[in-house]
Structure formats: C-alpha cells, structure tokens
C-alpha cells in the first residue's frame, strides 16, 4: 500500500513537472456547448457545424494541429477546462472580467449583442423594470444574460433557468415563458428564422454595460497555456487577412 502511494505521489510529481512547462500540443481538444445555432449545432444527419466549428477547424489547420470537439453543457464548461477534459473552449463565450480571473482569452473573434425575444402577442416595445414586472423570463443558466437579468430584474420578474438553449425554446413554444433574453444571432435563428412569424424582437439589442456584456466572443484557455493562445491569435490574424474569416462569416451571417 505504502509503495503504491509513494509511486503515485512520484507519478503526480512528474506529471506536475511536465505540465508546468508550456506543453506543445499536436492535438487540441475544444469544449463546446451544442446546440447554439448558428454558432454551433448539428445538421440533420448529425454532423457538428456552425460558425465556431468552422472557424475553429480553420484555425487548427492554420496552426497545424488536429482538433477534436468535446461536447459539454454550458454550466460546467469552465470547470471542464480546469479539470483538463479539453484544452480550450470555443463556444460563443463572451470575454468579461469575471471569466478573465479563471481563464486566458484569445483576442475576440466576433462581437455579438444580446437581445430580447417574445411572442407576437406580448404587448411591450421595450424591456425594462416596469414592462417586465411579473413576467417569466427565460435564460440559459450561467450565461452573462442570466447574470444581467438576475441582477437587474430578479426582484420584479420570475426567472426560469435552462441547461440548454433548446429547452428554453421548447418552453417558449409551450407558452411557459413570456420573454427570453439571448445572444442575438441564436435568438434570431431559432426564434425568428426557424418559425413563421410567431416571435418578435423586443426593444434594442444590448451590449452595455461592459461589466456584463464584455468584449466580444473569445477562445478560452487555461492560464498557463499562453503559448497556445498566442498561436491561435496569430492564426486568427492570418485568417482575417487572407479572407478565410470573411468567407466563414458570410456562410452563417450573410452580408449582415
């Protein structure tokens, strides 16, 4: 028993020593929360696709590493990175200070506002404390939208928190929710484009205050993987220069 213990302690020490140095990755595992259309979702035949997926694959190719996508529910996505279930997160994650304390972010690769969506029958033009009074608001648990809604409207409205954006849309269809607060493109795709005019956007798109809405979407790494983050940043700059980025952007967002 003692010997096993010594051996495993030794093993741990060796593992710690090697991982303390910057690792050279040949294979990068990337954590992603699916579905989040059009950023990451599955096609009808089950293939993983979306803006993040295509851009991520292009970045890996540019760097010369092979990439593997690992699915992980949103509320455990940062702890999953810490516990080495994967080496990076590329899943529409907004860069903000709260998260910066936990992870190392790449340069932002896209900026997206958040927006309110509601059934056509909801008779308000703007979402504020008065109009949302007594309503049931849907958010995805642990997102910055959750934090924003909880802090600003938690005292006047009921907040329903969902593990996935899909469950939330299902409950919106079921008429259990009065209004939802989402990343704009996801709400736009799943509620406006995939439905025949049942839903509408309410009020302005929101990207302030920065305390909640941060600085755009970034790829998250463990703090010590600075070299890896740097390689992704360089690759991102290259793809933006040579037009690959624009091509992928146009594939999912048209000319918007």
């Amino acid at each position: 028993m003692k010997r096993i213990l010594t051996l495993s302690v030794l093993g741990l020490a060796v593992a710690a020593a090697t991982s303390a140095q910057a690792r050279d990755y040949d294979n990068v595992r990337i954590g992603v929360d699916v579905p989040y259309e059009p950023m990451e979702y599955r096609t009808a035949d089950g293939e993983l696709t979306g803006f993040d997926i295509d851009l991520g694959n292009a970045l890996c190719e540019e760097i010369g590493v092979s990439c593997e996508w690992v699915e992980q529910e949103w509320d455990g996505i940062i702890p999953g990175l810490m516990s080495r279930n994967y080496d990076a997160i590329m899943s529409s994650m907004t860069i903000n200070d709260e998260r910066r304390r936990q992870v190392l972010f790449s340069e932002p690769y896209i900026t997206m506002p958040s927006a309110w969506f509601a059934p056509q029958s909801l008779d308000i033009d703007e979402a504020n404390e008065e109009t949302l009074d007594g309503m049931t608001i849907g958010v995805q648990r642990g997102t910055l939208q959750d934090n924003y809604v909880t802090d600003n409207f938690g005292s006047v409205a009921d907040i329903s928190r969902y593990a996935t954006a899909d469950d939330m849309v299902l409950d919106m269809d079921a008429q259990r929710l009065d209004i939802v607060f989402l990343d704009f493109p996801i709400g736009h795709y799943t509620l406006i484009e995939d439905n025949d005019g049942e839903y509408k956007e309410v009020g302005e798109r929101i990207s302030e205050p920065k305390e909640y809405f941060g600085d755009g979407f970034g790829i998250a790494f463990r703090q010590r993987d600075e070299a890896l983050a740097e390689r992704f940043n360089e690759a991102l700059a290259t793809l933006k220069e040579n037009g690959t980025y624009d091509e992928i952007h146009a594939r999912y967002f048209g000319d918007e």
């Binding site: 455990g76 959750d146 928190r161 969902y162 469950d167 079921a174």
Partner: protein
C-alpha cells in the same frame, strides 16, 4: 460579539456566500421541502387504498395497480419528470384547457411526477406489510365475527403500518435525494441553487459541498423523526427487560 454580527462579518470576507446567494439557497430549501413534503403526503394518501386493492385476491382488481407500480418503479424518475413537463405540451390545445394553469408552472408537473413515483413505491411497501400479517391474527379476527372491512381497519392495517415503518423511512430519504433532479425543469430547488452558484462563480466545491451539508441535515432530521416514531409504535416488539 453576538452571532449575527459575526455572521455578517464572515459573509463580507468571502465572494461566494453573500447574503444574496444564501437567499438563493434559502429559496431552494423552501422549494425542496415543499416539494418533498407535499409529494410524500399525497403519495401516502394514494398508496393506502392502492395497497389494499393491490392485495386483493381478485386479479382484475390487483392487476391494474400492479401495472401502475411496475411502470413507475420500472422507469427512472427523471424520465417521468421529462414526460410530464415537456411531454404534455405536445398535446395540441393543452394551453386552452383548465389543466394549463397547473401544468404551466414547473412546480406542479414536478409535484405530480414525484407523487406518482413515491405512491408506486409506497404501495409496494404497504402491500408487502399487509401480506406479512400473521395468519393467526386474521383467524382470530374471523373468529370474532369481524367483517373483512372491519378486520382491515382494526387488525391488518395498524399492524401493517407498524411493520412498514422502517422501509417507509427509507423511501422518505430516497425521495428527498431524488428531488435533486427538480432543477432540470427550471425549479430552483436546493440543487438548482447550487448549480446557479456553481455556474456563476465557477466554484463547484463550495457550491456543492454546502448544499450536500444541507441535505445531510435534512436526512438527519428525517432519521430522527422516524427513530422517535419507531420507538413509540414498535415498543411492543422490544425485549421486556434490558
């Protein structure tokens, strides 16, 4: 220094257990206890008549109850909850029926699922206890000329409840722990509160250890209540001298 100022000073010193998040835990505590207590109560009321039907000698009475308990004991509670919460909305026009105000809230579908589930287990616990009634007691009751309903009321059920008590105590504890899945249908129960804190502060250890401690306290309280009940109700089974 009295305890409240000490509490507040301690709370100021850490980022996670602010009065705000403790408020979430408190709400979660209230939801969990309500959900578990109400479903156990309703389940118990359902289980007594069902257990009597289930012990009937007539197949056409006992079989439907058996099918019910088999289905609800044979499928995971999580699946039952999904079916009752997300499944019902696929019936067209359910939103226009009188059921919708109940099914709309997450609380009632969860309460229905938990009640049906615990009623199924409790029915089988009681049935076992009813079947184990000693033949001598039944013969004695018959010899007194008791009708079968009087015999059920005065002889079989009282002793069956006593026999069922220890296993029913287990069922209560299982139900408390099973209620942890309520957060998948947006209810902020104890586990839901812990998941919220975990996702907001990325602190799995603090969030879940704290909630585990609360569950432990609740379990301890349940154990205590059943210990007292057993002491009173099963006193006649104890050895005379100690």
């Amino acid at each position: 220094m009295d305890i409240t100022t000490w509490m507040f000073e301690w709370l100021e010193g850490n980022a996670i257990f602010t009065p705000n998040t403790l408020g979430y835990y408190w709400d979660g505590f209230v939801t969990t206890t309500q959900l578990v207590f109400l479903s156990l109560l309703a389940g118990l009321l359902l289980a007594v008549p069902l257990a009597i039907l289930r012990s009937s000698r007539h197949k056409w009475i006992s079989l439907p109850v058996y099918v019910y308990t088999y289905v609800f004991r044979g499928t995971p509670l999580l699946i039952q909850l999904y079916i009752i919460y997300y499944g019902v909305v696929f019936f067209d026009g359910i939103q226009e029926t009188f059921l919708w105000p109940i099914l709309r809230e997450a609380f009632y579908p969860a309460l229905i699922a938990f009640t049906l589930n615990t009623a199924a287990y409790t029915t089988e616990i009681f049935r076992g206890a009813i079947k184990a009634t000693s033949q001598g007691e039944i013969e004695a009751a018959k010899a007194y000329g008791m009708s079968s309903s009087l015999m059920m009321r005065r002889i079989i059920l009282p002793s069956a409840f006593r026999r069922a008590l220890p296993s029913y105590g287990n069922e209560v504890i299982f139900m408390l722990h099973a209620s942890a899945i309520a957060s998948v249908v947006t209810l902020t129960d104890l586990t839901g509160a812990a998941r919220f804190v975990y996702a907001r502060f990325y602190a799995p250890f603090d969030a879940f250890l704290f909630v585990a401690a609360i569950y432990l306290c609740l379990t301890f309280a349940i154990l205590f209540v059943f210990r007292q009940l057993e002491k009173r109700l099963l006193a006649h089974l104890k050895p005379l001298s100690h």
